[in-house]
């Protein structure tokens, strides 16, 4: 009998599968895109406003989809409200020490903020093809105040961005607060997910912006930031591997091979592409951005599935 590398080897996997992997990815995109848009708004440069709008346009549908994915994953979806209201007493249900409990509330609140910013972006945008949406700004001009530079807009952006980062990272803490191999053998998954969500969101926003032919200055800043965040993600990933210690043997299989592919083609190659672009904001990174997105998805896939394969 081979000795188990950790006491976590004696536990059962929770059967979290594709819905959860997708939620980790899409929820991360929602949080990351909102955070980047809020940041762009806070720097308040007129020419960058379409870029910020893009992030708000991504964040709200992603949050809505996240809710649906979580609902579909439940064994009894119609009892989803038991997460928020105790079904026996009808009192609010909240456990600050349970990441799933805090995450549900955070997703709900973040959903509200993404909706407000989504409305503000729609109200401001006069280039939308759908007439019903185009008239939002004309009918309710006050909606524009839900975004900076108004004080209310700034408050919404800052609070929403904090919740966005929470949504991007709590999923890693949720995995750590279990007794499963890999997940609970390192405290760094939350950090990894926050950094990864930001790099993924930056890649998606740049990809859409480049494909749309945008050339605003904020794009160059985003590109420059993306390189730094990918370096940070690599460092955190190395720290995760080191912190796992003997548990790392759990990745001496196909999952480990996939992880190496993710590191090589989802992080290092895009980083090289980013550095090779002499002029920041050139098309080089646009070609690498889909790999960052795919790598981010596969990273979550490896983490979620490899633990449950034990």
């Amino acid at each position: 009998m081979n000795p188990a590398p950790s006491s976590t080897w004696f536990t059962t996997g929770p059967h979290w599968a594709w819905f959860i992997v997708l939620y980790f990815f899409i929820g991360g995109l929602a949080g990351g895109c909102y955070f980047l848009s809020a940041l762009i708004d806070l720097f308040d440069r007129r020419e960058d406003r379409p870029l910020a709008r893009l992030g708000y346009y991504i964040a709200f549908p992603c949050v809505a989809l996240s809710g649906l994915l979580l609902l579909a994953d439940l064994g009894r979806p119609l009892r989803f409200w038991h997460m928020m209201i105790e079904s026996n007493t009808y009192r609010p249900m909240f456990k600050y020490w349970s990441p799933m409990s805090t995450g549900v509330w955070a997703l709900l609140i973040f959903g509200l903020f993404t909706f407000l910013s989504f409305l503000a972006a729609l109200a401001e945008d006069d280039r939308i093809g759908w007439p019903a949406l185009r008239t939002i700004g004309a009918r309710w001009p006050a909606l524009r105040r839900l975004r900076g530079p108004s004080a209310l807009g700034r408050v919404i952006s800052v609070i929403g961005a904090i919740f966005g980062l929470y949504i991007a990272g709590y999923t890693g803490v949720l995995l750590a607060v279990t007794n499963r191999p890999i997940w609970s053998d390192t405290p760094l998954l939350g950090m990894l997910f926050v950094v990864s969500a930001t790099s993924t969101s930056g890649a998606l926003m740049m990809l859409v912006a480049y494909r749309s032919g945008w050339r605003m200055p904020g794009l160059a800043d985003l590109h420059s930031m993306e390189s730094w965040v990918i370096v940070l993600e690599l460092l955190v990933l190395i720290a995760v591997l080191v912190s796992l210690g003997p548990v790392l043997t759990a990745w001496l299989n196909a999952w480990g091979v996939l992880l190496v592919i993710v590191i090589a083609f989802g992080l290092i190659w895009p980083l090289i592409q980013s550095w090779r672009a002499r002029q920041p904001g050139q098309m080089n990174f646009a070609r690498a951005a889909p790999l960052v997105l795919l790598g981010s998805f596969l990273l979550r896939l490896v983490i979620v599935f490899s633990s449950q394969a034990i």
Partner: protein
């Protein structure tokens, strides 16, 4: 308020009859596996395989024989939920479906559980799983309904060798310690109690007398609470958020500075 109740399982007198499994299934009306079609695991006489949503008792068969079969022994153990004093499942459950009863046992209320499965990942013993019929997480209730009616749990009632004993925790501890002393006196010095003291998750209300290392029985040597990672995990996540925030601010501010320089005459 009743005294804390639980199980003491003396693995040295278990004969592997599985009466406990049958009694548990019968009383709790748990469905059969695979529609009742018998499939053999190939793992000794263990065709139950593991504890899950429809197997709340599991008799383990551990064969310890050398290749020449001259010497050896069977280790038999009826496994069940440990009803931990510090229960990981209860701690993380986001719906409040998992409760501690007046008997100090841990019960999942099936009508409140929504099948999120957080408790399955949290349990350090791999006890809980989804019941494929009800689609909610289920496990041993220590026959909560029978206890409320003044009866003992079905499994201990059915056990023909008193390997599974039910009673107050205080009384069970005394009995178990006497048995360990007796075994030591008879030369079985490997006998010890697993989970009887409060060092393991505050104490297990279902504890065991074992004669080999816990890992041999498929039990974790040092089970831990999942929330041990809550503070370090959260601190690192916040640190990650601060780092990306600084990276973003640094890069966006840089352009602002360069633009200002350009605008100067």
């Amino acid at each position: 308020m009743p005294e804390p109740m639980g199980f003491y399982t003396d693995t040295t007198v278990c004969i592997g009859c599985k009466a406990c499994e049958v009694a548990c299934k019968e009383w709790n009306q748990l469905p059969s596996t695979n529609g009742g079609v018998n499939t053999l695991s190939g793992d000794s006489y263990d065709n139950t395989r593991r504890l899950d949503g429809i197997h709340w008792r599991h008799v383990k068969f551990i064969e310890q024989f050398p290749e020449d079969r001259k010497d050896g022994r069977w280790l038999l153990m009826s496994d069940v939920c440990k009803h931990c004093v510090h229960a990981a499942c209860l701690e993380v459950c986001p719906t409040g479906a998992i409760i501690r009863t007046e008997f100090d046992t841990v019960v999942i209320q099936s009508n409140a559980c929504n099948g999120c499965r957080d408790c399955i990942a949290a349990c350090p013993f791999g006890v809980i799983d989804i019941n494929p019929v009800s689609h909610v997480a289920q496990k041993c209730t220590l026959c909560y309904d029978r206890l409320q009616g003044g009866m003992e749990p079905a499994c201990s009632k059915a056990c023909p060798t008193k390997s599974i004993q039910f009673g107050t925790i205080r009384e069970l501890h005394e009995r178990a310690q006497e048995r360990v002393a007796q075994l030591h006196q008879n030369g079985e010095n490997r006998a010890y109690l697993y989970g009887a003291d409060d060092k393991m998750l505050g104490g297990l209300n279902s504890f065991y007398l074992l004669v080999d290392k816990p890992e041999v029985y498929g039990l974790p040597p040092d089970p831990k609470m999942p929330t041990r990672n809550l503070i370090p995990g959260s601190v690192f996540a916040v640190l990650g958020a601060v780092m990306v925030g600084l990276a973003a601010i640094f890069n966006f501010r840089n352009r602002g500075a360069s633009q200002e320089r350009k605008m100067r005459p």
